[in-house]
Symmetry: D2
Subunit: 288 residues, 4 copies
Amino acid sequence: MPASTTLLMTLDCPDRVGLLARITGFIAAQRGNFIEVNQYTDTISNWFLARFAFEIPPNATLDSVRRDFTHVAEELGARWELRDRAKPLRTVLLVSRQDHCLADLLWRWRSHELNIEIPLVISNHEDLRASVEKEGLPFLHLPIEGAAGKKDACFRHLADVLCKARAELIVLCRYMQIFPEWLCAQYPNAVINIHHSLLPSFAGADPYRRAYDRGVKLIGATCHYATEKLDAGPIIHQEVIHAEHFHTPDDLRRLGRDCEKLALARGVRFHVEYRIVVHGSRAIVFGD
Amino acid sequence: MPASTTLLMTLDCPDRVGLLARITGFIAAQRGNFIEVNQYTDTISNWFLARFAFEIPPNATLDSVRRDFTHVAEELGARWELRDRAKPLRTVLLVSRQDHCLADLLWRWRSHELNIEIPLVISNHEDLRASVEKEGLPFLHLPIEGAAGKKDACFRHLADVLCKARAELIVLCRYMQIFPEWLCAQYPNAVINIHHSLLPSFAGADPYRRAYDRGVKLIGATCHYATEKLDAGPIIHQEVIHAEHFHTPDDLRRLGRDCEKLALARGVRFHVEYRIVVHGSRAIVFGD
Amino acid sequence: MPASTTLLMTLDCPDRVGLLARITGFIAAQRGNFIEVNQYTDTISNWFLARFAFEIPPNATLDSVRRDFTHVAEELGARWELRDRAKPLRTVLLVSRQDHCLADLLWRWRSHELNIEIPLVISNHEDLRASVEKEGLPFLHLPIEGAAGKKDACFRHLADVLCKARAELIVLCRYMQIFPEWLCAQYPNAVINIHHSLLPSFAGADPYRRAYDRGVKLIGATCHYATEKLDAGPIIHQEVIHAEHFHTPDDLRRLGRDCEKLALARGVRFHVEYRIVVHGSRAIVFGD
Amino acid sequence: MPASTTLLMTLDCPDRVGLLARITGFIAAQRGNFIEVNQYTDTISNWFLARFAFEIPPNATLDSVRRDFTHVAEELGARWELRDRAKPLRTVLLVSRQDHCLADLLWRWRSHELNIEIPLVISNHEDLRASVEKEGLPFLHLPIEGAAGKKDACFRHLADVLCKARAELIVLCRYMQIFPEWLCAQYPNAVINIHHSLLPSFAGADPYRRAYDRGVKLIGATCHYATEKLDAGPIIHQEVIHAEHFHTPDDLRRLGRDCEKLALARGVRFHVEYRIVVHGSRAIVFGD
């Protein structure tokens, strides 16, 4: 007997009475059985947001549920996503020269901690080719260089590559290049970035040196969706660590790497588990 | 126009297809509108657990929903609870001589942080009478003394007092007396205790001295439901704090008090917000 | 036989070889016995900073040590402070209308957790008079009102009151008034403020609402010395707490209060234990 | 001009007046300049413990300081250690089949986060040979099998290997084999183990399953020195992470791995920086 299939669905729409009954009634009619449901209404904007995890019977499929639910979603005016929890999410990693986040994600991928497949790792430098290829993964060196016009051409090339790789998720593992607006717009809430500070503190360059000069007692990192507004996309997760007075700026960078690794890994996990629904400038994370 | 009424419901029962649709369909039929829903299936024991927060229309009441839902609950074989979120929970505080948890809870009550009313504070000592009475609250000195038989008579007296006070929740704020089994059984999952260690570490007496001798680096406290098995009831919440080598056992007690205050206050809040459903030895806390 | 006296000394000066030997040699010559010593050299600015806790023999006194050490300190070009650990620090509390930090500090004072004496509590409002007076403490209503010139007169009055109260430490327990530069300058590193955000994030007004809108996942508070630069004094301690998506701005304020209470209490303790030496914009906290 | 040499010294001995002056006077006489000093007296057992970091002038060497200090240490009856901070500590890693701690430590070693050299990685299984060898490190498969007598022979072989490798530190990266007493005794406070729970909770096997059944809200890990008493050696560091109700035992294992990696890496760092002095059952960690 085959193991049951578990589907994950996220959904948001204007709030009104009966939404949850409509959706759960539909799933029940398909003989789907819920194993975890989270619903939240933003009562300020009157918005309904939810996540559903449910098992479907052998005669149902992802495609049959998707086809039938389309009508329900239209009726509700809902934005929604649906996937098979067991199916790895196609994830392209972008990296520059620093490898701590990359190494951490690759370890979690290799150890099946993160349910992703990695068709490609892309970098604007050659430095990390060996460490990627020894994992058996393709590595593409795609420089981002030159003046603004030249740079944009590079990003158009990058967009082509991402499209051909059929990327469902893009993770900027300390990529150090700012995605252009039009590229962020192609992957709404599907480009995850790690910012090396506790946003909105120290947005911008060299936050660890500035944190040292300011004498802060907590070092942090922020995992967020990249949007056209730099360092201002919806925050997915933040990690923090206590700093001591004898820590040098380099020590703070080291502590920061631990925050960054953990914040990014958890943020990617929340995305892969479909725990996130973005509403305006806020990322609602169910069960973080 | 009156503000809307928000009801809180917790429920658990054996799992099967259609439960959530049945319940949410019922609420929708009453024109109830969900603002926060959490459902979780324990797939090991095949058990359905959920919490619902929903607004009801002006023509509905807590009583009308309760009456009508009784039939649904019977049909599902469910254990359930329902209350008006705005109605303070009648909470009796029991205390011995140490007042840190009591003072913290009284501050939160006075500041409307915790939605409780306190008909009575009971102590087996006189020490804290003044600090309770200056809050305008009745204080009852009810000694628990003597040999086993004598003590049991004291607890029977206590049980009478609790009954007359119509206690919905009993909070042991460092009460230092072990509730007898039969008394715990009268208030299932309604007696909250604070244990001054990170259970199951250092269960029993003087955990801070033992933590010092063991050189632990983390001091913690556990908020749990009192059951007939001492220090083994379902864990609601735990707090932890880092200890330094120069901390004496007295310093650890001080740090411990901060953990205890916070863990108890949060545990009581989760209970008051009906965020907890107990399943076997585990307390499921939705949104902790 | 009398219990031994423990002295606390902090000291900083330009670094050079032999400083620690000179100081500890002096203390040893007085038959002082160290129980905790922390020394740190800021190798960027070449600055020596240290804290010493030591017991002195029955024939020595705070005054004799102070008198004799004066020569050593002059020789080293050191800034230093010395006090008897057992002697409570005279601490004036300033408060506005919110009482969470005040209530927390008063509880810790009453319970002998903090070794302070409180000659006076000052407020620019009458609201908290009763809760202060029932602790047996004098309460002074000193309004800060009017245009700039008028306000400055109020602060000159306040300065007189602080002077007469022989305040050694001033704690702004959510005072909501900005101390003028000249007043900060009278009490260098002796005015402790609690800022209701994780500085430098959300400096300024209503940080919790802004944190909500930004969807941050961590709520924090910062305890710092007040200086002439608003919200930019040396940071003493920071606390942080995880926020959930269902938390309203009011919930964040509540979580913030828990951070504020804890951050302020710990910061005051570090100050009272003479664990802090300020160097430029950084507060070095030994053993935080 | 050569960079200055920094030495690290730890020391403990019976307490008496003048110890710190004697030691710092000796260092000053050698023209050594302190950059970080921590001293602590355990006033319960009357024991002096300290750590010194100091730069020595070009004409001094580790050996000259060691030779001259020997007389001082004898005079004080002190146990002490001294090393050049820049010199990597020879560290042998022992591992079984799980590689999360190993991979984490190897990354930190490769990235120069940890100042160690690794002459050898030893395992009782073949599984991790490839991942070790691709780092360019020697891997030794040394099975630990059979009945007690046979096993002991295996450990004697292991002891020979460790001796030949001139191991200064041995790290058990989830080694799953219990070091015999006589082997622990050969490396006092130089065998670091990671225990997959927050000791003393859940000492022994499968703590994550037991933590799940007990419904604990915090998952933790403990880094400690291995001693002849299993799971009872001095605790160096502990990490903790919040668990959610929907986490399965496997999820708890995953969260536990993050705790284990971080706790072990930090514990090893504290050891390598000579921040730890063990006194009885307690590990004093200066600046953790």
